[in-house]
C-alpha cells in the first residue's frame, strides 16, 4: 500500500480504536455478571440486535469475499449471495423464537432441556469449540494479512495486535462491548459500500445496465450467466453455505441478548433485510470493480480476489479513501472475532464447566470467573494457531467451520425442537458422526489435499462435504433414537411445543 494510504489508514484506525475503547470502558462498568458478560443482560433492542446480527454475517468473508468473487468471475457471486441470504429467514422461521424462549445463553441450553440430561452439553461444547476455534484462527490469519498489508508490521505482530484488542474488548466489555463494536462497524461498512457504489455508478452515467455491459465487455458475456464451476460442486457449496450459516454458534449466541422471543424475531427480520440488500450491493459492486479495473488487476493483487474493494478505493480516492476502507476492513475482522471468542467462551464456561462439570449447580460469580479464564485461554490459543498457519490457504479453515455447524448443530437443533422421538444417545451419535465424518471428508477432500498439502489430486473429490454429512447426521440420530430409551424426551417435546412462540412470556 502507498505511504499516504498507510498513514490515512493509521489515522482512521486510531479513531476507531479510541471510540471502541471508550465503549469498552463504558460497557465494562455494566459487565459485572455472567448474565451481562454472555447476554448483555438481555437488554439489547430490536434495532441494535438487527444491526449486530447483520454485522456478524457481513464480515470479511461476505464483504471482501463476495465482491472479490464477483470481480474475478462474475456470476458465481450471486449464487453464493443467495445461498447465504436464504439462511437468515430459515433461522427466523425455525430457530429464533424457541431458542430464545427456552435457553439462557447458548443453543445447547435448549438441547439439554429437551433431553433432560446435562451431559449432552459436553458434546455440544466439543463441536462448538471445533467450529469456533477454526473460524477464529481463519479470521485472525486474515486480519494479520490485512494489517501487515496496511501498516507494514510483521505477520506475527499483526496477529498478536488483533489478539490483544480482541481480548481487551471481550474480557472487559463482554457482550455489550462486542455488540456495540459490531453495530459501529456495520454502519461504517454500509457507508463505504454506498460511497463506492455511487462512485462506480457515476462513472457509467448512473446506469446499472451500463456497468454490467462494461464488465461483460472486459471479460466476455459469460460472466453474466452460470458456468465456470462444476454443477455438483456449486450445488454442494450452496447447500453447505445455507445450512452452515443457520447454525453458527456466534450467531445463535445473539438470540439471547434480547429481552424476549418477540424481539428476537423482529431483530432477525431486520438483520435479514440488511443482509439481503447488502449482498445484492456487494455483487453489483464486484461487477463494478470488474468493469472499472478488470479481473486481471484484481487477481494480481490477491489470487482469491480479497483485495478488490481496497483496490477500487485506491483507484477512486487515492490514499484517503484507501485508508478509510482499510480501517473498515480491520474493524470488520475485529468485530467478528470478538463475537466468535465470546461464543467459544460460552461453550467452555457455560456449557462445559457449569453444565457438565458442576451439573448446572454454580452461582453467577463462579460462571463469570470461569468465563473470563476461558476467554483468555481461547484468545491465546487462537493467536498461536493463527501464527502457525501463516501462508496456508485460510479458506480451508472457514470451510471446516461451516461443515461442522451444518453436520452437527443443525441436525441436533432441528430434531430437538421438531421431532418427538429424539433420545440422548441418538443426539450424541448424530453429533459425533457429523463431526467425525465432516473432518474426515474435509481431510480427504480437495481443500486439504490439494490446497493445503499441495498434492495433485484429492482422495475424495468433494469440496463441501456437508451435503453428505448433514443428511448422514440426521439419519444416524434417527436410527439410534429408534433403538434407545427416550426418558423424559417425549414429555419435554410437548412442553417445548407449548412454550414456543406466540403468547409465551418468560
Amino acid at each position: 500500500m502507498s505511504g499516504s494510504g498507510a498513514q490515512n489508514a493509521m489515522i482512521f484506525f486510531l479513531i476507531f480504536v479510541a471510540l471502541t475503547l471508550a465503549i469498552t470502558w463504558w460497557a465494562a462498568r455494566r459487565t459485572q455478571s455472567a448474565n451481562e458478560f454472555f447476554a448483555a443482560g438481555h437488554r439489547i433492542t430490536t434495532t441494535q440486535n438487527g444491526l449486530a446480527l447483520a454485522g456478524d454475517f457481513v464480515a470479511a468473508s461476505a464483504f471482501l469475499g463476495v465482491t472479490g468473487i464477483a470481480a474475478l468471475s462474475g456470476f458465481n457471486a450471486i449464487v453464493f449471495a443467495v445461498a447465504m441470504t436464504v439462511a437468515w429467514p430459515i433461522m427466523l422461521f425455525l430457530f429464533a423464537e424457541p431458542l430464545r424462549a427456552l435457553g439462557k445463553y447458548t443453543f445447547a441450553d435448549v438441547i439439554e432441556y429437551r433431553l433432560g440430561n446435562s451431559r449432552i452439553k459436553g458434546w455440544t461444547a466439543l463441536v462448538t469449540i471445533v467450529s469456533v476455534f477454526t473460524i477464529l484462527t481463519f479470521q485472525m490469519a486474515g486480519a494479520g494479512a490485512v494489517i501487515k498489508l496496511l501498516f507494514g508490521f510483521s505477520y506475527s505482530l499483526s496477529v498478536a495486535l488483533i489478539g490483544a484488542f480482541m481480548l481487551v474488548y471481550v474480557l472487559f466489555g463482554g457482550m455489550i462491548a462486542t455488540t456495540w463494536v459490531q453495530i459501529i462497524k456495520m454502519v461504517l461498512l454500509l457507508v463505504i459500500t454506498f460511497l463506492l457504489l455511487g462512485l462506480v455508478l457515476s462513472n457509467f452515467g448512473w446506469s446499472p445496465s451500463a456497468v454490467l455491459g462494461a464488465a461483460a465487455e472486459r471479460s466476455g458475456a459469460k460472466v453474466l450467466g452460470p458456468g465456470g464451476m462444476p454443477p455438483l460442486e456449486l450445488f454442494a457449496l450452496g447447500f453447505a453455505s445455507t445450512i452452515g450459516v443457520t447454525s453458527l454458534p456466534q450467531v445463535l449466541l445473539r438470540f439471547y441478548t434480547v429481552p424476549d422471543p418477540g424481539v428476537a424475531r423482529r431483530s432477525l427480520l431486520l438483520a435479514s433485510i440488511i443482509i439481503g440488500c447488502s449482498v445484492i450491493m456487494f455483487v453489483f459492486l464486484g461487477y463494478g470493480i470488474m468493469a472499472v479495473l478488470g479481473p486481471d488487476a484484481v487477481r494480481a493483487a490477491d489470487r482469491g480476489g480479497n483485495m478488490a474493494v481496497p483496490l477500487l478505493a485506491d483507484h477512486y480516492g487515492g490514499g484517503l479513501l484507501l485508508g478509510f476502507v482499510g480501517a473498515v476492513c480491520f474493524a470488520t475482522i475485529l468485530a467478528a472475532v470478538c463475537g466468535i471468542l465470546l461464543a467459544g467462551s460460552a461453550a467452555l464456561a457455560h456449557d462445559f464447566w457449569i453444565g457438565v462439570v458442576r451439573g448446572g449447580q454454580a452461582n453467577d460469580a463462579e460462571e463469570f470467573r470461569v468465563a473470563k479464564i476461558a476467554t483468555v485461554l481461547l484468545c491465546l490459543g487462537g493467536v498461536l494457531l493463527a501464527i502457525l498457519v501463516e501462508g496456508q490457504n485460510i479458506f480451508v479453515l472457514s470451510a471446516i467451520s461451516a461443515t461442522i455447524a451444518a453436520s452437527t448443530i443443525f441436525p441436533a437443533l432441528i430434531l430437538s425442537l421438531y421431532w418427538r422421538g429424539l433420545t440422548y444417545s441418538g443426539t450424541v451419535a448424530g453429533l459425533l458422526v457429523g463431526l467425525g465424518g465432516g473432518l474426515v471428508l474435509l481431510y480427504l477432500g480437495p481443500l486439504v489435499q490439494i490446497q493445503m498439502l499441495g498434492r495433485t489430486s484429492a482422495i475424495v473429490n468433494l469440496g463441501a462435504p456437508a451435503i453428505i454429512t448433514c443428511p448422514l447426521s440426521f439419519i444416524v440420530t434417527w436410527l439410534v433414537s429408534l433403538m434407545t430409551d427416550p426418558g423424559v424426551s417425549p414429555k419435554r417435546y410437548e412442553e417445548i411445543t407449548e412454550r414456543t412462540g406466540a403468547g409465551w412470556q418468560s
Partner: protein
C-alpha cells in the same frame, strides 16, 4: 408461563397459538426451500437458459437471483407480521 393442564382454557389457547406459529414457520421454510432449490437447480442444470440476455445486459440468472433474495425477505416479513398478530391474539385471550 402457560401450565401443562389442558383443562386450563388459557393454556389451551396458548398451546393452539404456539402450534399455529410452528406450522407457519415450517410452511414458510418449505416455500422458501422450493424457491431456493428451484433456482439452484436451474443454475446448475440449465446454465444456457440462465445466460440469455434480457433487456439490456441482464440475464435470467442474475434477475432471478435477486428475485430469490427479495422473495426470502417478503416471506420473512409476512412471517413476522403474522407472528406479531398471533402474539397479540394470544395475549388478548389469556
Amino acid at each position: 408461563m402457560a401450565s401443562n393442564d389442558d383443562s386450563n382454557p388459557h393454556a389451551s389457547a396458548s398451546l393452539e397459538a404456539a402450534r399455529r406459529q410452528r406450522r407457519i414457520g415450517w410452511t414458510m421454510t418449505l416455500i422458501l426451500g422450493v424457491i431456493y432449490f428451484t433456482y439452484l437447480f436451474s443454475v446448475v442444470l440449465a446454465p444456457e437458459a440462465m445466460s440469455i440476455p434480457i433487456g439490456g445486459n441482464l440475464t435470467p440468472g442474475l434477475l432471478l437471483g435477486v428475485g430469490v433474495i427479495f422473495a426470502a425477505l417478503i416471506l420473512a416479513t409476512f412471517y413476522v407480521v403474522q407472528a406479531n398478530r398471533n402474539d397479540a391474539d394470544a395475549a388478548r385471550r389469556s
